[in-house]
Amino acid sequence: MLIAPLLLFVVVTFIVPILSMLFRSVENDIVPDTIPGVVTELAEWDGSAGLPPSEQVFRYLYLDLFKASEAKQHTRLGTRLNYEKTGLSSLLRTTGRSLDDVGEEWQDPLEDIDANFKDGAFWYQMMSGTDGEDLLEERRDLWAAMVGESMAGDVGFVPSEQVAQMLPWTTRAYTDFAIWTAIEDEDSVAEEDPWEAVYGALGMDLTNPETVTAIQSYTGPGADALKAAAANVGQLPQTGFREAFAAENEDWLSPDVWATIKLYSSSMTSGYFLNAVDMQLTPDGIEQKPENQQIYTQLFMRTLVMALIITASCVVLGYPVAWLLANLPMRTASILMILVLLPFWTSLLVRTSAWKVLLQQQGVINEILVWLGFVNDADRLILMNNATGTIIAMTHILLPFMILPLYSVMKTIQPSYLRAAKSLGATNWTAFWRVYFPQSVPGIGAGSILVFILAIGYYITPEIVGGTSGVFISNRIAYHISSSLNWGLAAALGSILLVVVLGLYWCYDKIVGIDNVKLGG
């Protein structure tokens, strides 16, 4: 069919992007992808008791965050969580810097116990083995999810299943280190000294009495070093990772912080949408944001009200002109039509700059008013960088979109109806109001919805002449896309706007039908 190529083209280049935006607005992969272990472990934690989670959670947190900070992903997680609770970004940022120090608390004593632990090749020998492919792939997938790349390639390392049974934490940490070293850094695993996290993980394993027992009967590579370590557990820090994190930052013990992490640990979230309507998800359920942080409902309202004012001014200004154009002889009408079409065809930026020239404090309108003596030089009118500026400029810019549909509807109204009404004794007003006006209502409806839809999504003009009090929701979306980088919120705001517009469009279709859209008279 002839339509197929275009349909495919539009779907791929337009519909899919829109759907991806809708998806973006609920997507929350960052948290489960960056700290998967913490997320699983947190499921069992009950925040209502007011206590921080268990040591186990902090162990996962340490290993996950260490990975994340190697891959520079922990700041991204911080930014994401900061949208929900202020302060989390700096918490993660500062903690990310000191993860090495935490690991060294275990690394130094371990290296004192047996100097072999200093040696990368020794570690490689100890951890390598057979049957560990499943574990390797599992860790590879976790890496891939975190950094968003496939992490495919030869690692040059297979963890030993036997060691993995005995030292689960250590094997996981070492495998993560091996994958990163081989794939991202493109170094040989055997030649590199392991991360501090691996020593920390060994410390975790050694706190488990079963592990200590298992080491006694272990005979594989590195058995002596491990036995020595198991025998001297007393030299290792006696505190756990919870204390280590708490020492870095007290906030890690705060149940609120953990409640937020738990709340946003699923891969889908309504958080962005709630944010977009000035609500927030708290451990106690959905609630209104504090008064001073509510901006979006107000902004949506302002966008709607201003779009309505602009639409109304367009109707008021456009109706007489459309009537005149529809009732003049064809030749005169098409000359006057050019006056309508010229601004329609003129670049939006040209018209916006025109209004900047006219409206600014030293602009044409103010200069003329001052020259005529109506306005004092000292207190010139402030026409720009506020709502007035946006309304004036956008009314001008959108007026042709009102006049054209109105004109095409009025063109179809027979002038003889008016004459008939008058000959039956109607006054001018009655004839207009009872006979002509009802017939022109579809035109008003079409034009209004067109103007309203265009106005509600305008970005450039409010940005340039609107200042702070004359901006629309679209400016906020652009701000979140390009400055604050809170893309999820931008997507949620966009989705809400999209729903509003589609609703309006549905009305438009009911009133005039899509086929009746006319352009350029």
């Binding site: 010229l342 003129t346 930026l349 040209v350 200069e367 970005y459 706007l497 517009v501 006319k518």
Partner: protein, 406 residues
């Protein structure tokens, strides 16, 4: 105008013309008086001048109407110049022009020329007021463009009028902003980008759009409404939303193209912007071409087929020439959509794809240089040309379809 010229009766001078002209004079007088700090004396003076003018013009019947209007304008201009220099000359001239026109328009009864003879005075008043309102709206539509063109010849780097410009001294004007526009990479590179992106996007949307419109115009299309809705959607969805969606989708798409097909970054950047612009232009092509096809006589294609032409020949030799005006004007809409588009480029493109509107936008936001106005003036000229093209095409199309060209 009409063949049967009805002798228009002059209204009574003392009870009608003079008071009305006096009111207008009073308004001008009030404004003029305000400049000199005494509006009320100006008001009274203006009323007297207005009444006198009406009286004098009523006596001069031997001179053609427009000659006397120009005479009044020049006279007022000279008087204005004596008091207020060049500004006064200009202002006086305008006041004179309007006063003279108004006085003769009322005085000779011209104001009744266009209305039916049976109209009551109230209806005539309303009719005239209505015309003034419409004139005001047209003024509102067109006037903002004038200062832009004027200021683009500014000799200074300001966005405002200098005293030299207002007193029409030669040193107040220069072409330097046009030289800036044409001579620097800052503007020429964006212009080049625009001229790369817009035509290619137009070609894509026109070729795909025309095909689809022809497909849609056939009688047996299942799900026509739904397909139409999808195809028109880029026009309905606000640009900011399209741009946001494209921002999320095109960035990974671009990365994928770079990594998997080994294309270089600049090329992929252009591809992204062109695809985005092409899809934005498609609704316009669909709408204009579908509208043209409504008037297309299907028996022509049947006749062609009957005489042995294959579908391709029929399309290019019979159908295409007839729908060409619609295709071209759809293409122009698509072109202007791409050429004028900022939001999507801002979101999807990188600095290398900076287009002319983008440069204007940054210029308006950051450094305010009248070079923007030079660019704007050039764009206005381009849009006038495009407008004329579309208008001519429309007339040709209507002529071809047997409608009155008007």
């Amino acid at each position: 105008m009409s063949a049967a010229i009805i002798e228009i009766k002059r209204p009574d001078l003392l009870t009608f013309t003079m008071p009305i002209v006096a009111v207008l004079g009073a308004m001008f007088g009030f404004i003029t008086g305000n400049i000199f700090g005494d509006p009320w004396i100006g008001l009274i003076g203006g009323a007297i001048v207005g009444a006198a003018l009406a009286g004098v013009l009523a006596k001069i019947t031997s001179v053609k109407r427009w000659k006397s209007i120009w005479g009044v304008a020049v006279l007022f201009g000279v008087v204005g110049a004596m008091f207020g220099g060049v500004g006064g000359l200009f202002g006086g001239f305008l006041v004179g022009l309007s006063m003279g026109w108004f006085a003769t328009w009322v005085g000779t009864g011209q104001y009744r020329k266009r209305v039916p003879i049976y109209y009551t005075p109230g209806q005539v008043l309303w009719h005239s007021t209505f015309l003034f309102i419409c004139a005001f709206v047209f003024f509102f539509l067109i006037a903002p463009l004038v200062p832009v063109i004027w200021l683009s010849f500014n000799a200074e780097n300001f966005f405002t009028f200098t005293p030299e410009m207002l007193s029409f001294k030669a040193e107040g004007y220069s072409l330097k902003h046009y030289r800036d526009f044409l001579g620097t990479d800052e503007w020429m590179v964006p212009l080049k980008n625009s001229l790369i992106i817009a035509p290619i996007a137009t070609i894509i949307s026109v070729s795909l759009g025309t095909l689809a419109a022809i497909g849609l115009s056939q009688s047996h299309v299942p799900g026509r409404q739904a397909m139409m809705a999808i195809l028109i959607s880029p026009m309905i969805v606000p640009l900011i939303i399209s741009a946001t969606g494209m921002f999320f989708f095109y960035a990974p798409l671009g990365n994928w193209l770079q990594v998997n097909l080994g294309l270089n970054q600049a090329f992929v950047g252009y591809v992204k912007v062109i695809l985005a612009h092409a899809v934005l232009g498609i609704p316009f092509v669909i709408i204009t071409v579908t509208a043209t096809l409504v008037g297309f006589d299907k028996s022509l294609t049947r006749a062609a087929a009957n005489m042995g032409a294959n579908p391709v020949t029929t399309f290019f030799r019979v159908q295409m020439p007839l729908i060409l005006p619609g295709v071209i004007s759809g293409g122009l809409f698509a072109f202007i959509t791409s050429f004028d588009e900022v939001v999507v480029v801002l979101f999807v493109g990188s600095a290398r794809q900076q287009t002319l509107p983008w440069q204007m936008y940054t210029g308006l936001r950051e450094q305010i240089s009248p070079t923007i106005l030079a660019a704007a003036t050039i764009l206005v000229s381009v849009s006038i040309l495009l407008l004329l093209t579309v208008e001519l095409l429309r007339r040709r199309s209507e002529r071809l379809r047997g409608m009155s060209p008007g």
